[in-house]
Symmetry: C2
Subunit: 380 residues, 2 copies
Amino acid sequence: MDDTLLMLPGPTSVAPRVLKAMSNNIVNHRSAIFGEIFTETTELMSEVFKTQNQSYLLTGSGTSAMEAAIANTIKPGEKILNVVGGKFGQRFMQIANSFGIDAQELAVEWGTAVTPEQVKIALENDEYIKAVTVVHNETSTGVAAPIEEIGKVMKNYDALYIVDTVSSLGGDRVDVDKYGIDICVTGSQKCLAAPPGLAAITLNDEAWKVIDNTDSNTYYLDMKKYKKSGAGTPPETPYTPSVSLIYALFEALKIIKEEGLENRVVRHETAAEASRNAVKALGLEIFPDEKVSSTTVTAVKMPENVTDAELRGTMRNKYKVELAGGQDHLKGNIFRIGHMGNISYKELAITFSALGMTLKGLGFDIDMGAGVAAVNKSYL
Amino acid sequence: MDDTLLMLPGPTSVAPRVLKAMSNNIVNHRSAIFGEIFTETTELMSEVFKTQNQSYLLTGSGTSAMEAAIANTIKPGEKILNVVGGKFGQRFMQIANSFGIDAQELAVEWGTAVTPEQVKIALENDEYIKAVTVVHNETSTGVAAPIEEIGKVMKNYDALYIVDTVSSLGGDRVDVDKYGIDICVTGSQKCLAAPPGLAAITLNDEAWKVIDNTDSNTYYLDMKKYKKSGAGTPPETPYTPSVSLIYALFEALKIIKEEGLENRVVRHETAAEASRNAVKALGLEIFPDEKVSSTTVTAVKMPENVTDAELRGTMRNKYKVELAGGQDHLKGNIFRIGHMGNISYKELAITFSALGMTLKGLGFDIDMGAGVAAVNKSYL
């Protein structure tokens, strides 16, 4: 298989022991032995979410969990406030619209973060808002939203607080109970460093109160069914789950526990700081407002007169390092360096070594070693 | 891990080379290299479906594909005819009901198969039926429906013909184009013998004509998005797919191609015949009408005065063979022997050896070797 280094905002590289766990024999998903693995995995998920709530695993991408968060709580015609400052904020709004929900956009310029004050004003102006969606880490722009501070605002309103931590959980600070998050969703293939294909969702009593009084807009993602099956003996999923991917996620979560969640976040913070400094040392500019730049992905302005194919194409084809491009109107205008999951100075040394050579090859008058030197400085 | 022999109607045992394929490095799901794997996998899926149509992979269980088939084609308030002769027939109807679709039940006694005549009468009596759902292999009762003959009836009506081949495709005869199936769905973990977590769906032009004029009732399973992404360069999925499970399905489909689909079906037919004969040789009774007994799972009446715990519990705990129980009102009244996927005389020899000992241990006056002898007779 391909040995390209993935420096993407997901999927991320998976540790050999996680890959190995996947190759275990398939067991019956309705057996006691699987029930144990399932229970331990969901308990570890709740530990990572920092919540006393039950967590649920969905066989699906992060988007399936985003849909579950909305489709089970808001009725067609009811109002939702979607904070939109990038592609994933838009996705929440598209999901709401697809169910005939009255989606109110709180538009935030791409590259900046929503402020708690903006959320407060929106809620003050409209008492009919049933829920607010916030994307913690907007991978499309490399921006982290202040979910703790928004949580403080949300506590004064009845609206449910729905947070997408797909590309932050396990890499940036998330504390579901402390922040007052009612529904939190994530994906397996980002900072958790498991293979793609699983999503997780955790819901508090406030959320369940709403869900128990709302007909789900979907069948496959009807959370009432997950709750009922999950409370059985042994605990189960309503439909056949990805047994092998749950083995993998279980192993990935054990690695997180071994490392310690706080250590892991600090490791991501170091990687983010090193990346920003290395980008600047090579003469490039960070795309978002640096004060709100993401802990798990760094978005960089494409240098003038350089195409995406020249920069990312050279990185991928010549130096075997895969970066992400810009999406939608940012296509060709930015590129993104994912530093999530199993990230250390090693991957950054390779990445900025390759970026230095790529820029030099494109005719830039730079010190090729400056990027890696900046990385080293952050790690020393 | 557990070495219990799984004789379930899914998940089935997975070949070591399929498990091994899963442990390959994760690649970017939006890369050319993954696009190739993805394309080849969906092409092999279409070969197994026996269709010229494009096939699509969903990150989800078989139920997600059942939902996709309905949620994209039938509007709330429109009529659908659901053939219901077991749990999965019911599921189609529950999905339809959950979207406010006017679901008409064609009720079939559990253990018998719907007839083409019944479908014809239902369609003659109601011109507003937009689609008919049929479960090919009703695993809950061990019955196979005559999907080819029903297809001949369907050709005279405009209603879409939606067939669930979750537990039959790759084990029983399915010929999507020849039978005139408009939408066909399946799951990875049954006769295809890949791990659970993926579903596949194929749709013909008639189906797309309807879908293109219907707002999807779901976001995650909106097939228009899959069509659009699948037609891209490289072909993609709208949301991050289960990369590792696609590696596994690709390998499992290569195995099917190597064996030959017709050989594989004949192998399943032999296993079914051997199982029925062995059941009877041990003095037990087949639950369904034998003429419509499934090719991939044999449902057996629980002997009088024997509990599910005594029979299946002993099989599992003492002899390490896992059978499936009855579901809903059949719980405790039947047990089910799955013989799908990588099934040969070996697994049946073990299973009926164990069943002979179990029955003897429960005090039955039987010839313990009669089951295995019957298996041998079918295979010799």
